[in-house]
Symmetry: C2
């Protein structure tokens, strides 16, 4: 219970109060997404699963929660200069959408390897696209340059209290929709989503288990957790394009102290989960979004000491923005 005591000391970037404030602030701009279940997947997994469908969220991913919290937190004179961010896609689209809702400009630094559908989303919502190299260093330096040129407010995709608080609103909805959960499984990348979800969920129910699901080709969180110190990766390789970032100094302490375990998945496990989402749940879920289902279905998870204690499990399907252009062309 060390983690939970630390939670009470409010030593982390966000807390239940900032998350509840965020929920009040962003409710007019977001969907309360539905929770779905499937007897087929319950039967396959041997557990009672429920799926928090952030693929139905505005912009097709959970990111609008943090983005709208950050943008609607700004004072008017600050806001007028606009906002700037760097992102592989879903955060970028969410910032563009939230800025449009507030009527301010959004400057978005996008790495060259981002999926086309996510770039399109940014443009559709009126964001101004600025390209960078795929490395975190290039993303950050390009964003800083834009910030210096325009005076816009930098909104980091995950290492930001406002973002973490916004993403945490998922737990407020989820524990109202399904109060008797014992486990929540969340994709992990920079850690904004899992930090918010964990801080809110463990504040409401300290005994709830939070598991992170991470791709083998971008396993900085698992390496960090194992070694007890923050490890960042300069090179990542995974189909889960939303999970390529490394943890930041605000999210690492939450992962270190409060996230119960990290399940690492290979590419085939991720694709198989995405396919099950499509064929069984009838949902479009991107690889990053399906990884939580991959975790519960993995052999690795079945060997964990807590496997037998898991009964009712929520899986956050974090987004549904997936590029299947090749497929549609092939059907013609």
């Amino acid at each position: 219970m060390e983690g939970v005591n630390q939670l009470k000391n409010k030593k982390y970037a966000a807390d239940i109060d900032s998350i509840k404030e965020a929920h009040t602030r962003i409710s007019p701009f977001i969907h309360k997404t539905p929770v779905l279940s499937s007897t087929s997947l319950d039967s396959i997994s041997g557990k009672q699963l429920c799926f928090k469908c952030e693929c139905f969220q505005k912009g097709g991913a959970f990111k609008i929660r943090g983005a709208s919290n950050a943008i609607f937190s700004l004072e008017d004179d600050q806001a007028a200069k606009g906002v700037v961010t760097h992102s592989s896609g879903n955060h970028a689209a969410a910032i563009s959408l939230a800025a449009k809702l507030r009527g301010i400009p959004a400057y978005v630094v996008i790495p060259k390897n981002a999926p086309a559908c996510k770039v399109e989303n940014v443009r559709r919502y009126g964001g101004q696209v600025i390209w960078s190299e795929a490395t975190m260093q290039s993303r950050e330096s390009t964003a800083t340059a834009v910030q210096q040129r325009t005076g816009a407010n930098l909104i980091h995709p995950f290492n930001d209290k406002r973002i973490i608080s916004g993403q945490g609103t998922i737990s407020l909805e989820l524990l109202e929709q399904v109060p008797d959960l014992d486990t929540i499984i969340v994709p992990i990348s920079g850690g904004g989503l899992i930090s918010g979800v964990t801080l809110a969920a463990k504040s409401i129910n300290p005994s709830i288990r939070v598991l992170a699901a991470e791709p083998m080709g971008a396993d900085d969180a698992a390496r960090s957790k194992l070694s007890g110190r923050l490890i960042t990766l300069s090179d990542t390789n995974t189909i889960a394009d939303g999970l390529r970032a490394s943890l930041g100094d605000l999210t690492w302490p939450v992962v270190r102290d409060l996230v119960d375990d990290i399940v690492v998945l290979d590419e085939n496990e991720i694709i198989k989960a995405m396919r099950l989402c499509y064929e069984v749940l009838k949902l479009a879920v991107e690889p990053s979004g399906a990884i939580g289902l991959a975790a519960i279905l993995s052999d690795q998870c079945k060997q964990k000491p807590y496997w037998k204690d898991m009964r009712k499990i929520a899986i956050v399907l974090s987004g549904g923005n997936v590029d299947l252009g090749v497929l549609w062309e092939s059907l013609k």
Copy 2:
């Protein structure tokens, strides 16, 4: 209003009473499927659209409504001999599932060109697969042979009062979920779905418009409606594998008298709609299921005299059983 007066004379195979009875009978076995909407698709279409998500129905399609109504209508001694049907897939899976729920055998005649995922569904639900040629003649003669051998009850996929009444329960839910609809768009194949939906909807609201959406490569309903007599096609060619059947003698009168119009779509329009379901609605919808969205987005529909009168439109997304095996293999 000629059609509506005819409706009051109860000259059709089903009526509001048989549909309400069906709803009471099948409610324990089916999902009340959600209705979704999308500001993006409203903006693309210029109309207020809502989507009745039968892709989330048990077995992945609306067919369980009719199948469970038919099977739970049987007397115990009749039921004991089992049921037999022929179907390109979704009705077959639904009959298998409903028979399993009742604990009786299901014999299912499936044409050789049915999608693999639909055949798998039949087997998963315990149905016994018997192959036939792709023609309606071969399907029917094979089913008759099985019936003679086993004594099983033949449950036709659409030309059956119990089936039509079961499918009509969609309208009872839909008009409760969205009471102020002016139009419902429904895929048309053998006509069981559209007959039930039309009979129920026009009984509740005589001024509601019902449009059928039909693939150009299986346009028997449009040809029949145009010529005023039932035309069946022996050869069809469309990606919408669920829409290859021709109308029957019980469904044709409803289509002739009460369905307001038939919109005919080409293959690219159907695929484009399926892609929009995936990319915008985040739903897996099979080609047959997406055709209603194709109809409202077609140039043809915009030139109809009733286009300007349509404001709030429900589109029945009839099923989500789609074979994308090639795609998933290509991702590996």
